[in-house]
Amino acid sequence: MLSYTLRRLMYMVITLWIIVTLTFFLMKLLPGDPFGDAITKLPPESMQLLIKQYGLDRPVWEQYLTYMGHVIQGDLGVSYQFPTRSVVSVIKTAIPASFELGVWSLIIAIVFGLILGTIAALKHNKAGDYTASIIALIGVSIPSFVIGPLLSYYVGVKLKWLPPGLWTGPEHRILPAIALSLGTIAILTRMMRASMLEVMHQDYIKTAKSKGLSKSNIVGKHMIRNAILPVITILGPIAVNVLTGTLVVERIFSVPGLGNQFVLSVYSNDYTMIVGLTLFYAAVLIIAMFLTDIAYNLIDPRIRLGKGK
């Protein structure tokens, strides 16, 4: 188990290194420079100083080595668009909002996904099943950039139930969390439904029934607990998906999060910010996958890196 974990850790570091390197060089292919429009007005003397300060006058491989040296020390550099702020501090300020939004939406998704999936399975081929399936279908097929503005307008402006945007009070969390959770609800509903249906036909359920156990007892104790297992295993990747997939929803609801920042930095050729954020997202993704794998490993010993060890 330990050697497995260590090997995985090593692969993680290598993956991150490849990602950073690729991003670094791809970014250098972007047209334009990171200094914005106003640069055309900057006197050549200052321009030279600026280029020198950021080391852009040196060969690309040298820039790369310097950058990697800093990254290893946990320094992701200074943002080009906000020269007074370091990439690390920008990530630090933006991460709480993104994280909170992700957590709320995940909670909503789990609660509703599991409930809907269970209902659908119990009312198999009845009205309840169809309703849950339709909800799941809608959730899967309507992207968040459609559902977001709809929620903001109808719930926020027309019904005036909830604020249509901003991130100030607890009531501001609800709409973006819902908008972000719909897709996940759909996935979880379908998984839970399938898993429940499978469990329902197991022999031990029949045994429980013939023993004369009450229905609630069978569903609660035997069905859900067994059916939930496969669903749990996909929660890792789903959580990452939700935590990092807040990009569109953040913009629509004016959430001061990381996704918003990412788009902005790409638009303004903010080299350091792009690499920094890519590295951060990649790290989150890889760590979550790592944890999921560890969890799989605990549950199912058949999964091992490199067979037979």
């Binding site: 668009q81 020269p83 933006a94 909002a97 909670i107 909830l162 249509p164 945007g165 297992l229 913009r251």
Partner: protein, 566 residues
């Protein structure tokens, strides 16, 4: 097997716990989200009664560092304009009124030396006095090449400024600073000597680049100056009390401001809202008093008092690259392309955001440098739309120059919604009216700018905004060999144009200078060296009860000092 069981039960427990917690907090969220307790803004609106004191606004992006020297964007200018102040402040007619200065400047007969008395009792928001030295320090810091200030070229109009910008090495820079033509005669008197006469210099003194800076505040902060709420200081009507990056800026009234009696608002909360749909939704629910909107959102507000249209000092135009397409070196060919565009149709059917058809290169509202409005003095220079005549001109031009147009031309431009519409419209016009096929090639802003400045285009759909309110900011662009003459406009007409513009740069007789610039524009448009399309406007919705909010045509997005609620 055992491990698996423990693990699953643990997970099941966690999950149930989480869902319980979720249900609990979901319930409380619902309660707080009920309409009665919803947006704070509507609550304060009803509480305010007789003119509320708190203004809530949307703003499109988090401003970059609020540093007087480095600031280059409208965002910095907007916020620093509220936090600090220059010697003068522009009123609603864009006329300079004494701010930190006690009176209008005394100008020497050669228009080069400005002597300005500072107002008594002016202080920074921390209570320390503002002195003439704070201005001298500010100008020196901006000009210092180590500061890397984009707008240093404006401050370099002061004598000796250029020398500081060009100085190399720390010692040389410090030495050059001593010779700058800005001196504190005493704490209350500032004397500025210019390199050459700048007829609109008094107005310039109202601009960000000429604000004072507090040396013992700025120096210790180094690169972090202006990065956060506690790293900004000013002498203006408001103080920045909170700055949550990418989220909110809070401005509160500065009680130490010399004119605090005339500042009616106690607090201005600015929320960063990037999506205009959301911005409008917030406005609709009363969560904000000000939102910028898009042209297609205007219709719903057409007859409502909320809608305000700001005409900007921005001109959108097409440039013809004369080296890439030799036919464009012929004036008649360019005139044909310009004349074949129905500009009224462009602004009324394609753009629909309040922009108006261009009648010259210098936009409406721009000064003529002699107390008048350039456009009103010069009049409409753009020949009226005439498809038949345009076609004739094209034929004549091609025959005259012995050139042909390539079978396919390409126009590049930004890939924003509005620019795609503009390009679609003009290419269609050229197709129908001239029978010339031009393909639109929209691309990210950065690419367009790079291609334009490196002259890698045939036609470009682009725009320019005034750096300062004078025709020179427009007309010095196309002098021979200038960096913005990307179309390579050359020949005797350009020589004539260059002569007029360069002469105007040193002319002290304002009437004469203005005349030269007018003549220059007549050549520019007559030759169709550029084809101006529209003067840009942008629409806003503003709470009709909010009065005194100025939406200036350039520089700041809004001026807050005199704003108040009825």
């Amino acid at each position: 097997m055992k491990l698996k069981k423990i693990f699953t039960s643990a997970l099941a427990v966690t999950l149930i716990g989480a869902s319980l917690a979720a249900c609990g907090s979901k319930g409380s969220d619902d309660a707080s989200g009920s309409p009665s307790a919803s947006s704070g803004a509507s609550a304060s609106a009803s509480a305010g009664g007789n003119g509320k004191k708190e203004l809530v606004m949307n703003y499109r992006a988090d401003p970059p560092a609020l540093d007087v020297s480095i600031a280059e964007s409208a965002a910095s200018f907007t916020f620093l304009g509220a936090i600090s102040e220059g010697l003068y402040r522009l009123d609603k007619d864009m006329k300079p009124t004494p701010a930190l200065a006690a009176d209008m400047p005394t100008i020497s007969p050669d228009h080069l030396t400005y002597t300005i008395k500072l107002r008594d009792g002016i202080t920074w928001s921390d209570g320390t006095p503002v002195t003439a030295n704070d201005f001298v320090y500010s100008f020196q810091r901006t000009l210092d090449p180590r500061t890397k200030a984009t707008y240093a070229f404006v401050v370099a109009w002061i004598k000796g400024g250029e020398a500081i910008m060009k100085a190399e090495g720390d010692a040389a820079i410090e030495e050059a600073k001593k010779n700058l033509g800005a001196k504190a005669i005493d704490d209350k008197t500032l004397e500025i000597t210019l390199d050459h006469p700048v007829p609109f210099f008094t107005s310039m003194l109202a601009f960000l680049n000429f604000y004072p800076q507090k040396k013992d505040f700025v120096e210790p902060l180094g690169d972090k100056n202006g990065a956060d709420a506690d790293k900004v200081i000013g002498a203006g009507p408001f103080k920045l009390t909170k700055w949550d990056h990418e989220q909110t800026l809070v401005l509160e009234k500065n009680e130490k401001y010399w004119d605090a009696a005339n500042v009616k608002l106690d607090k201005v909360t600015v929320n960063i809202v990037k999506d205009t749909n959301t911005g409008l939704n917030l406005y609709e629910t009363g969560a904000t008093d000000y939102a910028d909107i898009r042209g297609d959102q205007m219709d719903a507000y057409k007859d409502k008092p909320d809608l305000r249209i700001k005409s900007e000092l921005v001109t959108g135009y097409v440039n013809f690259q004369t080296k890439k397409v030799p036919a464009f070196a012929n004036a008649k060919v360019r005139q044909a392309f310009s004349m074949a565009i129905d500009r009224e149709g462009l602004v009324n059917t394609a753009m629909r955001n309040g922009s108006v058809a261009a009648t010259g290169y210098v936009p409406n509202g721009n000064s003529d440098g002699n107390g008048g409005e350039f456009r009103k003095v010069v009049g409409d220079l753009i020949p009226p739309f005439d498809a038949a005549k345009a076609k004739q001109l094209l034929e004549d031009g091609l025959k005259e120059s012995g050139t042909t147009l390539p079978s396919k031309l390409t126009i590049i431009g930004d890939d924003t919604e509005i620019n795609k519409k503009i390009m679609e419209f003009v290419t269609q016009q050229w197709q129908t009216n001239l029978g010339v096929t031009v393909e639109a090639n929209p691309m990210p802003h950065k690419n367009r700018l790079e291609k334009e400045l490196s002259k890698q285009y045939e036609l470009v759909n682009t725009l320019w905004g005034a750096d300062y309110n004078d025709p020179m900011t427009w007309l010095d662009m196309y002098v021979a060999g200038g960096p913005f003459n990307t179309q390579d406009w050359e020949g005797p007409k350009n020589e004539e144009y260059t002569k007029l513009v360069t002469a105007a740069q040193t002319e002290t007789d304002l009437a004469k200078r203005s005349q030269m610039l007018q003549d220059a524009e007549k050549i520019l448009i007559g030759e169709a060296a550029v084809a101006p399309l529209y003067f840009r406007s942008s629409p806003f919705v503003v709470n009709p009860k909010l009065k005194g909010l100025i939406l200036p045509p350039y520089g700041q997005d809004f001026e807050l000092k005199w704003a108040y609620f009825e």
